[in-house]
């Protein structure tokens, strides 16, 4: 069987070749972000194996130990659980939720954006009006309402975040597709009788991959932030399962006596979100067709 090159895949790899990769590598902040994310992910998934304590192990004699005491690198929480161990396994959950929510919302946003941009007319009006309607809710309100009434498991939180953050992608994709749908190659494809789904998936999608990848990266940052918001307010990931957001949940009442409870998880969130934003910025510089000559 001869290997038929898949145009969508080829486009993705073409995007990561040549001047664009070099351009991305030159973007110092983006590289810094990439390195930070790789290290953070490694630490979260491999780190727990090197720590003497389990994230759920309760040691009431060691409550509120400050960082660097009794083998607790980052101290302990009100139940004497090791914060470093909790931080890493919380990171596994927060990063996974953020990444999965990004995949879901990018899929939803891309599908709706392509259909709206390709068909135009009433289809576009209807779909984009729906996008506007979703954007009219402050997303935290909508998310909290959903989270408060549905059983908040990590999977449910992921779905809720995805359902409330696909609109940005849909808008970007719709705008890009509208330009592509009017071009000659689309007309040519239609003329040889290609079905709509083929033209959308095989002809147009590869041409709008750049903006989608950029939007997706920024969506990971957003999703991690949103998870932190709802978990902080107590409607997200439920204890004893740790997440970066719910580790901050009770931190405020111990702000005076144990400030490390608040500082440590917040730094992790900020680090992860900043890194994804930097990567997104670098990708935008590298993938923006207008900026590569």
């Amino acid at each position: 069987m001869t290997a038929i090159p898949d145009p969508a895949r080829r486009a993705v790899f073409a995007v990561f070749r040549g001047p664009r990769v070099r351009k991305f590598m030159r973007h110092r902040l983006a590289m810094l972000g990439l390195v930070t994310i790789v290290l953070l992910t490694l630490a979260c998934f491999a780190g727990p194996h090197f720590l003497p304590y389990d994230e759920l192990y309760i040691d009431l004699r060691a409550r509120f130990s400050p960082p660097l005491s009794g083998g607790h690198i980052l101290g302990t929480d009100p139940l004497g659980r090791d914060i470093a161990a909790r931080l890493f396994s919380a990171g596994q959950i927060s990063l996974t939720v953020g990444f999965t929510a990004m995949v879901l919302s990018t899929l939803i946003g891309t599908a709706i954006g392509i259909v709206a941009g390709y068909f135009g007319g009433w289809t576009r009006t209807g779909l984009m009006r729906m996008v506007d309607a979703f954007l009219s809710f402050p997303s935290v309100f909508l998310m909290l309402t959903l989270a408060a009434f549905l059983k908040p498991s990590p999977a449910m939180i992921t779905i809720i975040i995805a359902v409330t953050s696909w609109m940005e992608v849909a808008r970007i994709v719709e705008a890009e597709v509208r330009g592509q749908a009017a071009r000659d190659f689309t007309a040519a494809a239609r003329m040889i009788g290609a079905p709509h789904w083929w033209i959308m998936g095989r002809e147009i999608l590869p041409n709008v991959m750049g903006p989608i990848i950029v939007a997706a990266t920024l969506t990971v940052a957003r999703a991690i932030l949103l998870e932190a918001y709802i978990s902080f307010l107590g409607y997200g990931i439920q204890p004893p399962l740790p997440s970066w957001g719910n580790m901050l949940n009770n931190a405020q009442q111990y702000l005076d006596s144990a400030p490390w409870l608040a500082i440590v998880p917040g730094v992790a969130i900020t680090l992860a979100v900043t890194s994804f934003n930097f990567i997104g910025d670098g990708l935008r510089d590298a993938l923006d067709a207008r900026s590569v000559q």
Binding site: L29, R129, M130, D132, A133, F134, L135, S136, F137, P138, S139, V140, F141, L142, L144, T145, L146, A148, F149, L150, K151, A221, L225, A228, Y229, F232, L233, Y235, L248, A251, Q252, L255, D256, P259, A262, I263, G266, I269, T270, V273, T274, N277, F278, D281
Partner: protein, 316 residues
């Protein structure tokens, strides 16, 4: 102009209708539903629950319930709170002022600071200041608002003891100065994200304007630099920002929610969190609708504002 107003009003009504359907669906299709809080009453029987459901009209088909709810919404009957039976609209009204005060202050801070940083960054493009402002804005966008609030409380209230850690006023001392001192930290924390966003857009907008012919003309006829900047560049660069201000409304309302929680500020955000805890459906629904209507109206006003500020734009 009249055609534009009619068209946009119609659009706005359609949008609010879609919004209301989404909100209604979210609340009523979720498991549990409005009856869940009665179901917790000890010793309540299935027959009792069914009777309550019938009294509240919850046993009717959902579309009928929706139409009933909508028709009451339009005439200003937003239901009454499950908690104290007071009408939803008056509950919202009571809490609205605290939130408006907080949002107003935060908006003033973000517009002034954001404009300043954005314009300076554009005038001194690629300078150290521009670089620091760019990176700073991205980091500011990445800090969770509530965590920034916690850190601010830690430093300014606990370590330095300069500012109160929460609430809107000291009991017994409700002077203007007392309000002001309580307002500083929450509004600064709430403003952070918007300063970052505003400065980025202002920088881009200023760069666009600086390339325009009329700026070159102003320079060619020998106007002093400050005059070109203030009268020609900044004024024109601000026009697209009016639209941005409309679009930022949901963000700032959402931000107010966590800021109010951290600083125990008695506004709509706290009301929302409390109502969620009590399963107070009418208030939750009312707040969802209220924030959505506010956003739609805000965007509409922004569009009108742009047209008023820029004579080149004719609405139609």
């Amino acid at each position: 102009m009249i055609r534009f107003l009619l068209h946009r009003t119609l659009q706005g009504i359609v949008l609010i209708l879609i919004v209301s359907m989404i909100g209604f669906a979210v609340i009523n299709l979720a498991p549990g539903g409005p009856l869940s809080q009665y179901a917790l009453t000890p010793g309540i029987s299935q027959a009792d629950l069914e009777r309550i459901a019938h009294q509240m009209g919850l046993d009717r088909p959902l579309p009928i319930q929706y139409l009933d709810w909508l028709s009451k919404l339009i005439v200003g009957d937003w239901g009454s709170s499950y908690r104290d039976q007071s009408p939803v609209l008056s509950v919202i009204w009571r809490h609205m002022w605290a939130t408006l005060l907080l949002m107003g202050c935060a908006t003033v801070i973000s517009v002034v600071l954001g404009t300043l940083i954005g314009v300076l960054g554009a005038l001194r493009r690629y300078s150290l200041f521009d670089y620091v402002a760019t990176v700073g804005a991205m980091i500011a966008l990445s800090i969770p608002t509530f965590w920034f609030g916690l850190i601010a409380i830690f430093f300014f209230s606990l370590e330095l003891g300069w500012l109160p850690a929460g609430n809107m006023y000291t009991v017994g001392d409700q002077s203007l100065g007392d309000y002001a001192i309580h307002l500083i930290m929450p509004s600064a924390v709430l403003a952070l994200v918007n300063v970052a966003i505003w400065s980025r857009y202002m920088r881009a907008s200023t760069l666009d304007v600086m390339d325009q012919d009329y700026v070159r003309t102003a320079r060619a006829k020998g106007l002093p630099r400050w005059r070109i900047i203030s009268a020609h560049i900044v004024r024109n660069a601000l026009i697209p920002m009016i639209t941005l201000a409309g679009l930022q409304l949901p963000t700032i309302i959402g931000g107010a929610l966590v800021t109010e929680t951290v600083f125990t500020w008695p506004g709509l955000g706290r009301l929302f969190i409390d109502s969620l805890g009590y399963n107070d459906y009418p208030v939750i629904m009312g707040l969802l609708m209220f924030s959505a209507i506010l956003t739609v109206v805000g965007n509409f006003l922004a569009d009108v504002g742009v047209a008023l500020a820029d004579p080149r734009i004719r609405l139609g």
